[in-house]
Amino acid sequence: MDSTELINGILRKMGSGEKIDPAEFKKFVDLQNADLRTGPAVGSKVPDFALEDQNGRRFTLHDLMGSKGMLLVFTRSADW
């Protein structure tokens, strides 16, 4: 089974609530975490953006910033 097939298979099972073999899931996690990219380096500036939040309020990076800085978290999904 190639990696795309394995990833698609697991994601389908996750979507449908089907039982997932733990060994297969471990392989899926490893494949998913391959080639980890972590974005802007320490000491460099992050790109600006404007996004809407859960209440439809629009925020730029500047709007979110506290007086001492901020914690910006990227998560996979709140849905699964």
Binding site: G56, F59, G66, L71, V73, T75, R76, S77
Partner: protein, 250 residues
């Protein structure tokens, strides 16, 4: 975090309605930003390209956190290979802003040494990372040892043990070389006080409820003329293990 002058926001590829339901379900008041289409995730260069295009999960980032200075410069970032292991807010406050909480700590003393060991929070979920701070005070005239050290001395160390701790990393500052003329040796020592910093990762298998984080502080104290026996001081810090917060579909 906000009390400490720090902004907080989370970005995901979820739709606003999904984020609204998640925020309501878990009483989240900080902005959960909707990056539908993953334009910002791409702009940051952290799109997970291992998920095939056309799949409903395509568009997720490699999950991680950036600690930003007020001008938008990255001070620190935490991207971990296992997405289930995540730092806690309290751990970040401790590690990156040197803010030591006082919620979970234990004070121990042995011979002429007093130590306070603190965890960044008194509660954590399985697989979360907590900050660790240790403050050691040594009575005047005495010293304890750092690294590197010949075999017949015991260096200062803090080690966690037990099933609740999956990983640990504790570092002490470099010790000051002190020449012992009578012995013809120069050894790295600590005098007065010192602070160690680090982190532990709570095991993913620990059950919700009350638990204890156990460990041992090791050191050996000497003065100009005598060395005492090496000390091993066990300690326990009570902690509450929370249930994991599932996604809406789980």
């Amino acid at each position: 975090m906000q009390r400490a002058g720090l902004g907080v926001a989370a970005v995901s590829y979820d739709a606003k309605a999904t984020l609204k339901r998640f925020a309501d379900a878990h009483q989240i008041t900080y902005p959960l930003l909707s990056d539908e289409g993953s334009a910002v995730i791409r702009k940051f260069g952290i799109l997970n390209t291992n998920i095939p295009e056309g799949n409903m999960f395509h568009g997720i980032p490699f999950p991680g956190d950036y600690v930003l200075a007020a001008d938008g410069t990255v001070k620190q970032k935490h991207f971990l290979p296992n997405y289930q292991t995540r730092p806690t807010a309290s751990g970040i406050l401790l590690a990156d802003f040197n803010m030591v909480g006082d919620q979970a700590s234990v004070s121990i003393s042995a011979e002429d040494v007093q130590a306070k060991i603190s965890l960044s929070s008194a509660q954590a979920a399985p697989s979360q990372e907590l900050g660790v701070a240790v403050e050691i005070a040594i009575a005047p005239g005495w010293h304890i040892y750092g690294q590197p050290l010949p075999e017949n001395y015991v260096a200062t160390s803090l080690t966690f043990s037990g099933d609740a701790v999956a990983q640990q990393s504790i570092a002490f500052p470099p010790a000051v070389p002190l020449e012992f003329k009578a012995l013809g040796e120069t050894l790295p020592v600590y005098e007065g006080s010192l602070q160690g910093r680090g982190s532990i990762v709570i095991s993913g298998r620990v059950k919700p409820g009350t638990s204890k984080i156990a460990g041992t502080l090791r050191f050996q104290e000497c003065n100009d003329s005598i060395c005492k026996l090496p000390q091993e001081v066990p300690f326990e810090i009570p902690i509450k293990i929370e249930a994991m917060v599932p996604g809406l579909k789980n």
